[in-house]
């Protein structure tokens, strides 16, 4: 029983080491060494989001490019892959959760009186991109 379990675990770890999962729309390849197109959903970038963005940009050796637009314009652009990331005080229970893929949380955000988990959004189904982002996002307790 111990041996197959070890084999399975080492298989999982080795698989997670290589280039799988892939992106259906190759976001990772496009961003790698290129431009990270960012849709900023809040008025101003705060420290938590800035730290997350810096970590992602560094991991892909990409130069960040902030794209202007209203929230709905930016979400729609993210759906079509015209930007790579949407960020800016997004709570984990955002109503846009159906249209975009949400990352794990890397902090909290105050919405009204409540503290919610703070996440960023990527294009739906870009699992390779999301996985690499989640590996470098700042941890929080």
């Amino acid at each position: 029983m111990r041996t197959p379990l070890c084999l399975l675990l080492s298989l999982i770890l080795s698989l997670s080491g290589c280039s799988l999962p892939k992106d259906p729309e190759s976001t990772s390849e496009r961003v790698q060494g290129g431009t990270l197109r960012i849709g900023l959903l809040s008025q101003r970038m705060d420290a938590t989001d800035q730290a997350a963005l810096d970590a992602v940009a560094e991991a892909f050796s990409a130069s960040p490019d902030i794209v202007d637009g209203s929230v709905h314009q930016l979400i729609s652009m993210l759906e079509k892959g015209e930007i790579d990331i949407a960020i800016g005080g997004i709570p984990a229970d955002t109503p846009f959760g159906e249209q975009v893929g949400l990352s794990r949380s890397y902090g909290t955000v105050a919405i009204g009186d409540e503290e919610r988990m703070r996440v960023l959004a990527v294009r739906k189904g870009e699992n390779g991109f999301l996985t690499r982002i989640e590996k470098v996002l700042p941890e929080h307790e």
């Binding site: 999982i12 259906p24 739906k124 189904g125 870009e126 699992n127 390779g128 989640e134």
Partner: protein
Amino acid sequence: MSNQHPSLPEVIEADIRRATRLEYWTLFWLATIIGAMYLVTGSSQAMKTAWIEDCLSLVPPLLFILAAKIERRPPTRHFPYGFHRVGSLAFFGAACALLAMGAFLLFEACSALVTQEHPTIGTVAIFGERIWLGWLMIPTLAYSVIAPVILGRMKRPLARRINDKILHTDADMNAADWHTGLAGILGIAGIAFGYWWADSLAAGVISLSIVKDGWRNSRVAIAELLDGAPRAVDSTDISRDAERIAAGLGGGHPGIDVRVRETGRYMRAAVTAADRDTMGQEEAEAILGENAWRLIEVSVSVDAPQGAMREAKSMVDTQRKSGCDAVKGDGDQ
């Protein structure tokens, strides 16, 4: 009434006990599978579907255990025929669960393909490592396949021996479970390679056979509830036992009408003269007055046909008298 509750042959009793034990094991393993799936589901819609469908597969084993407990209860004043038909009702419930599962799976798969829903699967932290959740879903799905394969294979021959359609439907449900588990593994592997449609396509293909099984079982269950001819355990054909009963009781001879129906795992046959009503119009009217049209069949015990008929006749006579009085009384007020 007592002859409707004969003790079952020892082997059948033992098989029913074994089937009940199997169903308790099924509930246990399903609970562990549902728990494990819940842990790795995350926000993934694909896994959520697999999880909901695992919950649905709890229905047939629960219904089997319930029906086995109730069906041999003695008749009561409110249930003079006993509870044999609880087996038919539970079978209908199990068949509906299977059909619902297939339909749900098919709908989810089609709508995901049509709207080009790209499944998004994130990561999870294990021992300080960030791992793509898909790599954990695959072994979990592989685990979810093992128990249904084994349990389903054990249930099928047992279901045929004790003539239990709930158990047979549950074996179909187990097949559906492990088919969707395998499809899920293929789907997640496909997603890992960047094929967003892999999971929905695999689920859609599998759902077709589940819908087919569910539809067949539902048809048989409805036939059973409508007093249709008894069907075989594993198809919509008329059961061979039913045909043997009909032939053995003189069906096919001119003037004799043999009808066989099924209540749960038991069969009931009625032998009547083809060209005669079981009760005359006059007697029926004497008993029920203007509601006589509601009484369409009277069965009389074969052991004492003469005595019973005589008793019925004398009852008719007394009823006729008191019935007339009652009618008169009603008219007066």
